[in-house]
């Protein structure tokens, strides 16, 4: 293998992939071809996720849970009113509330386990990193309780199947998923002049009294679609565009308890999508045409918002925004402008085809330049470390989840809809580095005793293993210390 090719192999596995596993680099004879192959035929990982509950079913289960909880609360209150002592009440109600973990905890663990299982076992994992890139681009935080059950399913149900097609489809898929609709509050956004909005206004404020709770528009999702998901913050939209887009996507909602009452009344919508539980509620949709970025969209129900998203997807600002983020994710914190421009052109010329976008990046020399390098985020670090040690399974997914939180990157819990930071300066800090070294030592102490550290190091870092790191590993006082040194070394913190 030529030194160029071995350097490429290391970049393919570590900068584009999830991290080299024992044997990966030795068998990677055509690194660039292998990455292209992963784009053409991404692993579906269907088997890993088979058996997990669909969002549609989670919604039903969550509705049942809430109804049950309400009933239990009422029973308790009744019992409380009957007896004199009210002291037990708070604890009992709390117990009922905490029951959420009891009901759904095992499923949350199953979701996390399946995701880790894939991360630890897929070869190279460029396709998997593409999936994770989009999950962070379309960030959902389970800090928001109503979105808690749906973040992991959104990745499986929408991002995995659509991340290698056209961006339009991925965009619509995400914006109609309960995770996003709930995280950014579109679920209950009501057109003020819609039939439902007018009826509610009459009922609540008709007698001249102040409505207790006004139903109406919520522009949270619309704003983030423009700012984060498509055009980018300097994409040239105005507050008016935000409000108009919010109106266009009124009625984009999810299966709710009252859908199950007889007919659902005015609130009713389409039958829930069999996979996601998405419901379009015509009666909550703001009637009339909308004007967004100077273009008029006739009222066409659900299609109105879909048309806007399709146009946003093909906007040059979107092409630039997506290309920049992708190049920054895989190539460098400040990616070469020429590379970004080339990707954006390819994207627009190919009707938003994402495979073309990825391939354009891979086929650019800038993507393989010696100066291309990225700092591993905590999640990258942990995945790569476990892969390097040949760990095919996690001992305890909850422990790993807790560790990631302490390292600053709790899964599906970014600090904002902008997702986790994707540049080194956000992750390089003494305290963060210290916790990494602590983690390295902990992982090494649990590693298989049969591992040969020098071999593990060569397998993990290939040509990028620095001579002084190799020497330090060779001179370590024990195999465990040698593995600690490898995982804690500066070499291992970079994707080169």
């Amino acid at each position: 293998m030529s030194s160029n090719r071995t350097a490429d192999a290391t970049s393919a596995a570590n900068r584009f992939g999830l991290g080299a596993m024992p044997g990966t680099l030795d068998n990677l004879h055509d690194p660039r071809g292998m990455l292209a192959q992963q784009i053409r035929e991404p692993s579906s990982n269907k088997a890993a996720f088979a058996g997990l509950t669909s969002s549609a079913d989670y919604l039903v289960a969550e509705i049942d849970y809430q109804l049950d909880r309400r009933a239990r609360k009422q029973d308790l209150e009744a019992a409380n009113a009957a007896s004199a002592g009210g002291a037990a009440d708070a604890d009992a109600v709390k117990a009922a509330v905490d029951g959420f973990r009891k009901v759904f905890g095992a499923q949350l663990i199953a979701e996390a386990t399946a995701r880790w299982q894939v991360a630890l076992n897929v070869p190279i994992g460029f396709d998997e990193r593409i999936v994770r890139f989009w999950s962070n681009h379309f960030a959902v935080s389970v800090d928001k309780r109503p979105a808690l059950l749906y973040a992991a399913p959104m990745e499986r149900e929408v991002i995995r199947p659509l991340a290698f097609g056209r961006f339009q489809d991925l965009l619509v898929g995400v914006e109609t998923h309960p995770a996003m609709l709930r995280y950014l509050d579109n679920e209950t956004s009501i057109g003020p002049d819609s039939r439902f909005g007018e009826r509610a206004a009459q009922r609540l404020g008709g007698d001249g009294a102040q409505p207790k709770r006004k139903l109406g528009l919520n522009e949270n999702l619309a704003r983030e679609i423009l700012e984060l998901h498509t055009l980018g913050v300097n994409g040239g939209y105005t507050q008016a565009d935000v409000t108009e887009l919010a109106r266009a996507i009124t009625g984009w909602s999810v299966h709710a308890p009252r859908d199950d009452r007889a007919g659902g009344g005015l609130f009713a919508g389409t039958a829930p999508n069999a996979t996601t539980g998405f419901i379009y509620r015509e009666n909550a949709h703001e009637p009339g045409s909308r004007t967004i970025l100077g273009k008029r969209y006739a009222d066409g129900g659900m299609d109105q918002g879909r048309s806007v998203l399709n146009d946003l997807a093909m906007h040059p600002a979107t092409a630039k925004h997506l290309s920049f983020k992708l190049a920054r994710h895989f190539v460098a914190d400040q990616p070469p402008q020429k590379l970004v421009d080339r990707m954006a052109v390819a994207y627009l010329e190919n009707n938003g085809d994402l495979r073309t976008l990825y391939l354009t990046m891979l086929q650019s020399d800038e993507a393989w330049a010696p100066e291309a390098r990225k700092f591993r985020t905590p999640d990258d670090f942990l995945v790569a470390a476990l892969r390097a040690l040949g760990a095919a399974q996690l001992p305890d997914v909850r422990k790993v989840a807790g560790l990631l939180a302490r390292l600053g990157q709790p899964t599906f819990t970014p600090r904002s809809p902008a997702g986790f930071a994707d540049t080194a300066d956000a992750w390089i800090g003494p305290d963060a580095l210290w916790k990494r070294i602590q983690t390295a030592e902990e992982l090494a102490s649990r590693a298989e005793r049969s591992l040969v550290p020098a071999q593990v190091a060569r397998d993990a870092l290939g040509t990028r293993l620095d001579a002084s790191t190799a020497q330090a590993i060779a001179r370590a006082e024990s195999p465990q210390q040698a593995l600690s040194l490898l995982l804690a070394s500066p070499d291992f913190q970079w994707r080169i």
């Binding site: 109406g216 700012e227 913050v233 990157q409 390089i428 040194l485």
Partner: protein
Amino acid sequence: MTSRRDLLKAMAVGAVTLTLWPRSAWSAGAGGTSSAQPLLLVVMLRGGLDGLHALPPVGDNAWGALRGSVPFAPGDNALKPLPLDRNFALHPAMPYAAQLYQQKSFMPLVAVAPPYQGRSHFEAQDCVENGSQSPSGAQDGWMNRCVANMRGEEGLAIANAMPLIMRGNAKVSTWSPPLPTTIDPNLLQRLDTLYAEDTQLAEAYSRAVAESHDDAVMDADAMTMAAAAPANAAGNGQKAVQGRAYGNGALPDLMGAAGKFMSRADGPQIAFVEDTGWDTHAGEVATLQRKLGQLDAGLKNYHEAMGTAWDRTVVVVVTEFGRTAQVNGTGGTDHGTGGVAFLAGGAVAGGRVAGQWPGISRQDLNEGRDVHATTDMRAVFKGVLAGHLLVPSSVLDTRVFPGSGGVRAMDGLLRTSRVVAAA
């Protein structure tokens, strides 16, 4: 990094300036000045706190119609806000702050916003943090630039990852509750040489090693606390100790940790704590009851941890924007403009509500939807930096808040304001 020459240039405004500069070369050399050092903690509430709910303007005639029917706890209309003056009251989840107000060491500021007013969380937060005119006006943070202009000082961010406000060339570090394992010193020795060769990581690494001793001190503190704590702390060894010292890592714990660091003689003079979850598009009443309660507990923890150092401390609590005056269709409020800020600490001239109230009647609202901003947030920061940390106005105008010459430092915020004269 600011060079010595830059610093001298910045200070070339006369001997008066220089002698008032905290920890100037000779006073630091003489030692013992640390006990007089002014301290600053900035707390950022990310997500956009609804000022109209946290600090209801009960004296405004329009308030009743807009918000009068919104309770302060879910389903509890009897719970009333705590009156501060004729016009404003404080959310009932903040009794400790109300008490500080009575002691004249708590001051709400109304209708405050950063210069960017485009209602995007991230743009607005970036603008608050970078201290410039716009979200993209600077790539580093104003607290970092402030540190850069204070020789020998360094900043501390209580965070897992370095927030923008503290990013830059000056010495700053992050801290968050430690992992329970200890690192073999022998491993560290071997890593030393490897990290020395990595230009981008060397600095962070050597600081990590140096600060691990601080962690050891913190752990010792934690042990003492646990030992002093009665009952149910038993069992579970170190885990329980950590749990007790740092709780679940929520705002009250982080502010308490900030207090422990800052009250130490060699602790940071400037620190930053952040919290998320203040974005209340839906279910606002319950969320803010919980979150404001945490802020109140945080102030209490911080005050207690600071001890007498509280007397020379200013805490500034800010958020990126206020929210819509109207309650939206989902029991919450949407992104707005003018918001509330709070000052606390022994050095604050509290006991009054500061800022200019623009009113919330229909014709007074900004774009018909939210509270106008009458105070540029930089004016608040500048007021504190000038009067408390004694940063010269020329440095403030050009360096810490570049291009802010037209934004006058707010005065009257501090108990003993010693404004440094410009040339």
